[in-house]
Protein backbone atom coordinates (compact mmCIF):
# COMPACT_ATOMS: atom_id res chain seq x y z
CA UNK A 1 0.00 0.00 0.00
CA UNK A 2 3.06 2.24 0.15
CA UNK A 3 2.69 5.77 -1.22
CA UNK A 4 -0.91 5.19 -2.22
CA UNK A 5 -3.43 7.97 -2.04
CA UNK A 6 -5.83 7.56 0.90
CA UNK A 7 -9.11 9.42 1.36
CA UNK A 8 -11.65 9.97 4.11
CA UNK A 9 -15.19 11.24 3.69
CA UNK A 10 -16.22 14.49 5.26
CA UNK A 11 -15.49 18.04 6.11
CA UNK A 12 -12.02 17.78 7.63
CA UNK A 13 -10.86 18.24 11.21
CA UNK A 14 -12.35 15.72 13.61
CA UNK A 15 -12.24 16.24 17.38
CA UNK A 16 -10.95 13.54 19.72
CA UNK A 17 -14.44 12.63 20.93
CA UNK A 18 -15.68 11.92 17.42
CA UNK A 19 -12.52 9.97 16.55
CA UNK A 20 -12.87 7.92 19.72
CA UNK A 21 -16.56 7.31 19.05
CA UNK A 22 -15.87 6.16 15.48
CA UNK A 23 -13.01 3.92 16.62
CA UNK A 24 -15.11 2.34 19.36
CA UNK A 25 -17.95 1.75 16.91
CA UNK A 26 -15.59 0.16 14.41
CA UNK A 27 -14.19 -2.18 17.03
CA UNK A 28 -17.66 -3.13 18.27
CA UNK A 29 -18.51 -4.14 14.71
CA UNK A 30 -15.44 -6.32 14.16
CA UNK A 31 -12.98 -3.85 12.67
CA UNK A 32 -9.74 -2.69 14.31
CA UNK A 33 -10.05 0.22 16.77
CA UNK A 34 -9.85 2.99 14.20
CA UNK A 35 -11.48 5.07 11.51
CA UNK A 36 -12.49 4.31 7.95
CA UNK A 37 -10.68 5.38 4.80
CA UNK A 38 -10.27 4.16 1.22
CA UNK A 39 -7.11 3.43 -0.69
CA UNK A 40 -6.19 1.49 -3.83
CA UNK A 41 -3.09 1.27 -5.96
CA UNK A 42 -3.16 3.66 -8.90
CA UNK A 43 -6.43 5.38 -7.99
CA UNK A 44 -6.69 9.13 -7.50
CA UNK A 45 -8.32 10.82 -4.53
CA UNK A 46 -11.30 11.84 -6.66
CA UNK A 47 -11.80 8.29 -7.92
CA UNK A 48 -11.65 6.88 -4.41
CA UNK A 49 -13.99 9.55 -3.05
CA UNK A 50 -16.69 8.71 -5.59
CA UNK A 51 -17.82 5.95 -3.22
CA UNK A 52 -18.65 8.60 -0.60
CA UNK A 53 -22.03 10.27 -0.38
CA UNK A 54 -20.43 13.36 1.19
CA UNK A 55 -19.77 16.41 -0.96
CA UNK A 56 -16.24 16.80 0.40
CA UNK A 57 -13.32 14.55 1.17
CA UNK A 58 -9.85 14.82 2.69
CA UNK A 59 -6.72 13.20 1.32
CA UNK A 60 -3.38 11.86 2.51
CA UNK A 61 -1.12 8.94 1.63
CA UNK A 62 -0.59 5.57 3.25
CA UNK A 63 3.10 6.43 3.65
CA UNK A 64 2.37 9.67 5.49
CA UNK A 65 -0.14 8.00 7.82
CA UNK A 66 2.23 5.15 8.66
CA UNK A 67 5.26 7.43 9.00
CA UNK A 68 3.31 9.28 11.69
CA UNK A 69 2.93 6.02 13.61
CA UNK A 70 -0.62 4.99 12.65
CA UNK A 71 -1.18 1.54 11.22
CA UNK A 72 -3.29 1.17 8.08
CA UNK A 73 -5.15 -2.17 8.00
CA UNK A 74 -6.66 -3.56 4.82
CA UNK A 75 -10.25 -4.21 5.86
CA UNK A 76 -12.27 -4.79 2.66
CA UNK A 77 -16.00 -5.11 3.22
CA UNK A 78 -18.52 -7.03 1.16
CA UNK A 79 -19.31 -3.91 -0.84
CA UNK A 80 -16.06 -1.96 -0.66
CA UNK A 81 -12.85 -3.77 -1.63
CA UNK A 82 -10.83 -0.59 -0.97
CA UNK A 83 -11.96 -0.02 2.62
CA UNK A 84 -9.11 0.35 5.12
CA UNK A 85 -9.03 1.12 8.83
CA UNK A 86 -6.54 3.58 10.29
CA UNK A 87 -5.86 2.17 13.73
CA UNK A 88 -5.98 4.67 16.59
CA UNK A 89 -4.47 4.18 20.05
CA UNK A 90 -6.67 3.83 23.12
CA UNK A 91 -7.56 6.28 24.47
CA UNK A 92 -7.71 8.82 21.66
CA UNK A 93 -6.13 11.87 23.27
CA UNK A 94 -6.11 15.50 22.17
CA UNK A 95 -2.52 15.05 21.04
CA UNK A 96 -3.39 12.03 18.90
CA UNK A 97 -6.34 13.85 17.34
CA UNK A 98 -4.14 16.82 16.42
CA UNK A 99 -1.46 14.56 14.97
CA UNK A 100 -4.08 12.65 12.99
CA UNK A 101 -5.80 15.76 11.62
CA UNK A 102 -2.49 17.28 10.49
CA UNK A 103 -1.94 14.35 8.13
CA UNK A 104 -4.83 15.26 5.84
CA UNK A 105 -5.39 17.91 3.19
CA UNK A 106 -7.97 20.64 3.48
CA UNK A 107 -11.42 19.44 2.38
CA UNK A 108 -11.69 18.96 -1.38
CA UNK A 109 -14.91 18.93 -3.39
CA UNK A 110 -16.21 15.48 -4.17
CA UNK A 111 -17.25 16.00 -7.79
CA UNK A 112 -18.83 12.61 -8.29
CA UNK A 113 -20.42 11.57 -4.99
CA UNK A 114 -22.38 8.36 -4.67
CA UNK A 115 -26.12 8.90 -5.17
Amino acid sequence: MADECLVRAGVGQVDKEKLAEAATGAEANGFPHGVSARTASGMSGEELASAFRSKKFIESTVDAIEAAGFRVHRTPTALDPFHVTIELPKPVTEEIAKKFNRLFSLPKPNRNPRK
Binding site: G25, A26, S36, T75, A78, D80
Partner: protein, 151 residues
Protein backbone atom coordinates in the same frame (compact mmCIF):
# COMPACT_ATOMS: atom_id res chain seq x y z
CA UNK B 1 -37.58 -4.39 25.79
CA UNK B 2 -37.55 -2.75 22.37
CA UNK B 3 -40.17 -0.80 20.49
CA UNK B 4 -41.21 -2.79 17.41
CA UNK B 5 -40.19 -1.49 13.99
CA UNK B 6 -43.89 -1.20 13.10
CA UNK B 7 -44.42 1.39 15.84
CA UNK B 8 -41.36 3.58 15.33
CA UNK B 9 -43.20 6.24 13.35
CA UNK B 10 -45.40 7.19 16.28
CA UNK B 11 -42.92 6.78 19.11
CA UNK B 12 -39.56 8.22 17.99
CA UNK B 13 -37.07 9.00 19.40
CA UNK B 14 -36.58 5.46 20.72
CA UNK B 15 -33.66 3.01 21.15
CA UNK B 16 -33.00 1.16 17.91
CA UNK B 17 -34.51 -2.33 17.77
CA UNK B 18 -32.01 -3.26 15.01
CA UNK B 19 -29.14 -4.56 17.11
CA UNK B 20 -28.94 -7.93 15.37
CA UNK B 21 -27.36 -7.14 12.02
CA UNK B 22 -24.88 -8.04 9.33
CA UNK B 23 -22.79 -5.13 8.06
CA UNK B 24 -21.87 -5.28 4.39
CA UNK B 25 -20.51 -1.77 3.95
CA UNK B 26 -18.94 0.54 6.53
CA UNK B 27 -17.54 4.07 6.63
CA UNK B 28 -17.25 4.99 10.32
CA UNK B 29 -20.86 3.71 10.51
CA UNK B 30 -22.85 0.91 8.91
CA UNK B 31 -23.88 1.91 5.40
CA UNK B 32 -25.55 -1.22 4.17
CA UNK B 33 -26.51 -4.62 5.49
CA UNK B 34 -29.19 -6.81 6.99
CA UNK B 35 -31.00 -6.07 10.26
CA UNK B 36 -33.64 -7.82 12.34
CA UNK B 37 -36.15 -6.11 14.62
CA UNK B 38 -35.59 -7.45 18.12
CA UNK B 39 -39.28 -7.02 18.99
CA UNK B 40 -41.01 -8.76 16.07
CA UNK B 41 -38.10 -10.51 14.25
CA UNK B 42 -39.00 -8.94 10.88
CA UNK B 43 -35.86 -8.70 8.75
CA UNK B 44 -34.79 -5.88 6.47
CA UNK B 45 -32.07 -4.98 4.05
CA UNK B 46 -30.85 -1.53 5.11
CA UNK B 47 -29.04 1.04 3.02
CA UNK B 48 -28.01 4.63 3.68
CA UNK B 49 -30.07 7.10 1.66
CA UNK B 50 -28.69 10.45 2.83
CA UNK B 51 -26.42 12.12 5.35
CA UNK B 52 -26.00 15.51 6.92
CA UNK B 53 -22.26 16.07 6.85
CA UNK B 54 -22.28 18.70 9.56
CA UNK B 55 -24.39 16.95 12.17
CA UNK B 56 -23.48 13.36 11.30
CA UNK B 57 -27.16 12.46 10.88
CA UNK B 58 -27.71 9.42 8.68
CA UNK B 59 -30.90 8.40 6.91
CA UNK B 60 -31.50 4.75 6.07
CA UNK B 61 -34.04 2.86 4.04
CA UNK B 62 -35.37 -0.47 5.32
CA UNK B 63 -36.36 -2.92 2.59
CA UNK B 64 -38.45 -6.01 3.34
CA UNK B 65 -36.68 -9.38 3.37
CA UNK B 66 -38.04 -12.91 3.63
CA UNK B 67 -37.84 -14.41 7.15
CA UNK B 68 -34.63 -16.37 7.70
CA UNK B 69 -32.47 -14.28 5.36
CA UNK B 70 -30.19 -13.05 8.14
CA UNK B 71 -29.38 -16.58 9.32
CA UNK B 72 -28.93 -17.77 5.74
CA UNK B 73 -26.44 -14.99 4.97
CA UNK B 74 -24.64 -15.55 8.30
CA UNK B 75 -23.72 -19.01 7.09
CA UNK B 76 -22.03 -17.50 4.03
CA UNK B 77 -19.89 -14.96 5.90
CA UNK B 78 -16.08 -15.15 5.78
CA UNK B 79 -14.06 -16.28 8.82
CA UNK B 80 -12.93 -12.72 9.64
CA UNK B 81 -16.27 -11.04 8.94
CA UNK B 82 -16.85 -8.09 8.49
CA UNK B 83 -13.52 -8.21 6.65
CA UNK B 84 -14.40 -9.70 3.28
CA UNK B 85 -11.57 -12.19 2.83
CA UNK B 86 -12.24 -15.82 2.07
CA UNK B 87 -10.00 -18.87 2.09
CA UNK B 88 -11.01 -19.77 -1.46
CA UNK B 89 -12.86 -18.39 -4.47
CA UNK B 90 -16.02 -20.48 -4.38
CA UNK B 91 -17.39 -19.36 -0.97
CA UNK B 92 -16.71 -15.74 -1.90
CA UNK B 93 -18.62 -16.12 -5.15
CA UNK B 94 -21.56 -17.68 -3.32
CA UNK B 95 -21.64 -14.89 -0.73
CA UNK B 96 -21.25 -12.13 -3.32
CA UNK B 97 -24.03 -13.61 -5.44
CA UNK B 98 -26.43 -13.88 -2.49
CA UNK B 99 -25.75 -10.28 -1.47
CA UNK B 100 -26.14 -8.96 -4.99
CA UNK B 101 -29.54 -10.66 -5.18
CA UNK B 102 -30.65 -8.96 -1.96
CA UNK B 103 -29.45 -5.58 -3.25
CA UNK B 104 -31.23 -6.04 -6.57
CA UNK B 105 -34.48 -6.80 -4.79
CA UNK B 106 -34.24 -3.84 -2.37
CA UNK B 107 -36.15 -1.30 -4.46
CA UNK B 108 -38.91 0.36 -2.45
CA UNK B 109 -38.13 1.12 1.21
CA UNK B 110 -40.80 -0.08 3.62
CA UNK B 111 -39.50 2.39 6.20
CA UNK B 112 -37.12 5.33 6.25
CA UNK B 113 -35.44 6.38 9.48
CA UNK B 114 -32.83 8.80 10.81
CA UNK B 115 -30.15 8.12 13.38
CA UNK B 116 -26.80 9.47 14.51
CA UNK B 117 -25.33 6.18 15.58
CA UNK B 118 -27.74 3.30 14.85
CA UNK B 119 -28.41 3.15 18.60
CA UNK B 120 -31.31 5.60 18.69
CA UNK B 121 -33.95 6.11 16.00
CA UNK B 122 -34.69 9.83 15.84
CA UNK B 123 -37.44 9.83 13.23
CA UNK B 124 -39.19 7.25 11.06
CA UNK B 125 -41.78 7.31 8.26
CA UNK B 126 -43.33 4.78 5.97
CA UNK B 127 -41.44 4.61 2.68
CA UNK B 128 -44.78 4.47 0.87
CA UNK B 129 -45.31 8.14 1.80
CA UNK B 130 -42.25 9.18 -0.21
CA UNK B 131 -42.99 10.53 -3.65
CA UNK B 132 -40.42 10.96 -6.42
CA UNK B 133 -37.77 8.87 -4.68
CA UNK B 134 -35.07 9.74 -7.22
CA UNK B 135 -34.88 13.39 -6.19
CA UNK B 136 -36.38 13.43 -2.72
CA UNK B 137 -34.66 15.22 0.18
CA UNK B 138 -34.83 12.37 2.69
CA UNK B 139 -33.88 14.49 5.70
CA UNK B 140 -36.69 16.93 4.96
CA UNK B 141 -39.05 14.03 4.29
CA UNK B 142 -38.41 12.72 7.79
CA UNK B 143 -38.37 15.94 9.74
CA UNK B 144 -40.78 18.19 7.87
CA UNK B 145 -43.67 19.46 9.95
CA UNK B 146 -47.12 19.17 8.45
CA UNK B 147 -48.46 22.47 7.11
CA UNK B 148 -51.60 24.17 8.37
CA UNK B 149 -54.75 22.12 8.13
CA UNK B 150 -57.36 23.50 5.73
CA UNK B 151 -60.87 23.71 7.14
Amino acid sequence: MFICCQKLTALCPVPSPFNERIVLNWQDAPLEGIARCEACSIEYYFRDLAEDENSGLLVYGLFDLPAGTLERVKRLLPPKYPIWEFDSVSPKQAADKAIQKLRDEAKEPAWVFATNDFKEILACRSGAEAKDRESIDWIRFLFEVAGPVEV
